[in-house]
Amino acid sequence: MSGRDRVYFVLCLLLIIGVGIFQSWNVALTMINFALISAILSLGLNIQWGFGGLFNVGIMGFVALGGLAVVVVSAPPVEEAWRAGGWRVLSALFVAVLAIGGSLFVWKRWRPKKYGAVSLVVFLTMAFVLYRFLFDPAVLAIEKVNPALSGFLGGFNLPVLLAWPVGGLLAAAAAMMIGHIALGLRSDYLAIATLAIAEVLVAILKHEEWLTRGVKNVTGLPRPVPYEVDLQQSIWFQEWASQLGIDGIEASSLTVKLCYMVLLIIVLALIFTLCQRALNSPWGRMMRAIRDNERAASVMGKDVKRRHLQIFVLGSAVFGIAGAMMTTLDGQFIPSSYQPLRFTFLIWIMVIVGGSGNNWGAVLGGLLIWFLWIQVEPIGLATIDFLTKPLHPTSPLRVHLIDSAAHMRYVMMGLFLLLVLRFRPQGLIPER
């Protein structure tokens, strides 16, 4: 890290301290926590784009899978739902996997001749009917079980921290399949394909209520850190807070956030170290060589597609971990909150502004862009408020402008992206 790079990070820190002083420490800590997760996401994308030159715009899908992992791992199981149709749903899915996998296998292995295509279609149709026969009533039964509170299968009631690696594994498994399909396409086709696949993944999470409760959301997920109420009621905490001279409620919420922060920093440091090692290893150098000249690399006997699959899976695993962390932090799983603007394109801006191909740059981008994403709104609001002071408070123009300030962040993010691409295409901290 050069001196100038340090200045960037110090600046970030000052910005956040500024928020702590001028807004509140609670806001500042929340922001830090999400900024840390952004930095992890940004590292994941840096693996894919910075190291490998893969244009993945399906980040959202992997983040959502990480979120699903939290539900599946940590939510308490709904026994009644399992009795109502749990096994039937699982057998339906088993049939589906068997049918698709089986026909793919047969198709690849024997390439059946004459009536091959016809019998395949007949077979798949029959499998589909069987699947729907098993699936539909089971889903109805599950969703009928106490719909206001559960109506889904629930999870395994395991410690929520376990969901973080599981989220990574889930995302990696999905990436393995997607990579087999989509890698090897030229870059803008890959972009469209990944965008579409992520959209399908989120659609599934949004509508398969037996699994995720869909739009009803899964709330009250367990936490890896203490609850505020418990802290407030414990004697030692009250004493400690009053010694420090902070209000008990405020102190409890700050403590919880600090605990999260420590966890997040540990994970970030871990992933960062691994990324840094990987980047400077022979493997990392080879990846960059492939990125810079795919044709030459494949001539030299490197199996480009396999390498690409590796980085695609690794990067997506990081997205899955970050997604699980985010859902844990939120304490709830909200399928409809997964929007490509927020979970895919914002991450891209982080990596490009920060500096693709440089892990420090990716982290910086994650922290800085998250800060701006959150702060553009109040800053814009204050500016508009100041500029339109001369107008009457109810003047339609003033009201409209103040309303519109909330949406300024999209314009600002677009502008950042374009300005950086134009005037500093290698990002704030360039690759070296």
Partner: protein, 335 residues
């Protein structure tokens, strides 16, 4: 029998035709940019959105002037030319300020895709800031050309056929625009030069074709396509910035399925996507009810896929096409 056909026409064929027309126009916009400027334009959905926003303001302005000589057609049709002009201006300014630099620097296509993401964010933010995130309805004029009740009375059938005027407007305007576009590409000097440029840029340069002229005409066409398709979609459904951003995906699907860079492919892709989206998610029970003896009609809805997955259908087709035949059904430019 006839009743079954009417139900099918009413709930599948006509909606799919009008939706398909709009997807086709959108896909044409994407495919033209891909052919001439050689990148997948992520900003197209939001270009349509901004164009529609212009048309909406224009419609309100015309309505406030009390201009209504085109009744029973909606006032918005009068606003389209203004919106198209505004969009042409917008796209040319964006090209000058943003894209031209990368073109001259011979940047790789992927850089342009990322740049178009930046443009997308700005346009998206602008439409949210200016008109807001809420739904806007700007339709006026007659709702139906044929209403279900009238049709039943006239034909004596049990099922009614309802044709919304906006559906007809969508189909007619799309067909007109496509016809003009093909005339332009096949018959005019500039159109041929544009095809030549798309086919082989360097040879076009050697033949004395000026790239800037081709690029400018391309943006003009794209702007007109965006203004017409955006406005007509807004008339038929509803205008909301986020919906238009989401339209990007089925539009991409249509363009890729048809073969990026191929105008004919874009059109067929648009209808293919629309028919599969609507066909696969339609509950065929009512059709079966007219075709089969009552005892044979199954209990289920006879719906292949739940409507929740409407969007997912097009993406699945998209992915399947990419997997099996990346150049699309009509051999676009895959390299």
């Amino acid at each position: 029998m006839l009743d079954a056909a009417i139900v099918l026409a009413n709930f599948v064929v006509i909606p799919a035709l009008s939706y398909g027309s709009l997807l086709a126009l959108g896909a044409l916009g994407v495919t033209l940019v891909y052919a001439v400027l050689r990148f997948a334009n992520f900003a197209h959905g939001d270009t349509m959105s901004v164009a529609t926003m212009m048309a909406i303001y224009c419609t309100w302005w015309l309505q406030s002037l009390g201009i209504d000589f085109i009744r029973p057609l909606p006032t918005a049709l009068l606003a389209i030319p203004f919106a198209a002009l505004g969009t042409v201006g917008l796209l040319l300014v964006i090209d000058r300020l943003v894209y031209r630099h990368y073109r001259q620097a011979k940047a790789p296509p992927i850089t342009l895709v990322i740049v178009s993401v930046g443009v997308m964010l700005i346009l998206h933010g602008l439409s949210r800031m200016i008109i807001g995130v809420d739904e806007q309805r700007f339709f006026d004029g007659g709702r139906f050309i044929v209403s279900a009740g009238e049709f039943k009375e006239w034909s004596g059938l049990k099922e009614g056929l309802a044709i919304k005027s906006t559906q007809v407007i969508a189909i007619v305007s799309a067909v007109t625009l496509m016809a003009y576009l093909f005339y332009f590409l096949q018959r005019t000097r500039t159109g041929k030069a544009m095809r030549a440029f798309a086919d082989n840029e360097e040879l076009a340069l050697l033949s004395g074709i000026r790239p800037q002229k081709i690029v400018t005409s391309c943006w003009i066409l794209v702007a007109v396509l965006a203004a017409v398709s955006g406005t007509v979609y807004g008339l038929d459904k509803v205008y909301k910035p986020f919906t238009y951003f989401q339209l990007l995906l089925p539009i991409f699907a249509a363009a890729v399925v048809g073969g990026m860079g191929s105008p004919v492919g874009a059109i067929l892709g648009g209808y293919l996507i629309a028919f599969s989206e609507i066909g696969l998610t339609y509950a065929f029970k009512r059709v079966a009810g007219h075709l089969l003896p009552p005892s044979w009609v199954p209990d289920g809805l006879l719906q292949l896929i739940s409507t929740d997955y409407k969007f997912a259908v097009s993406f699945t087709i998209l992915v399947a096409v990419l997997l099996l035949r990346p150049t699309g059904l009509f051999r676009g430019q895959a390299s």
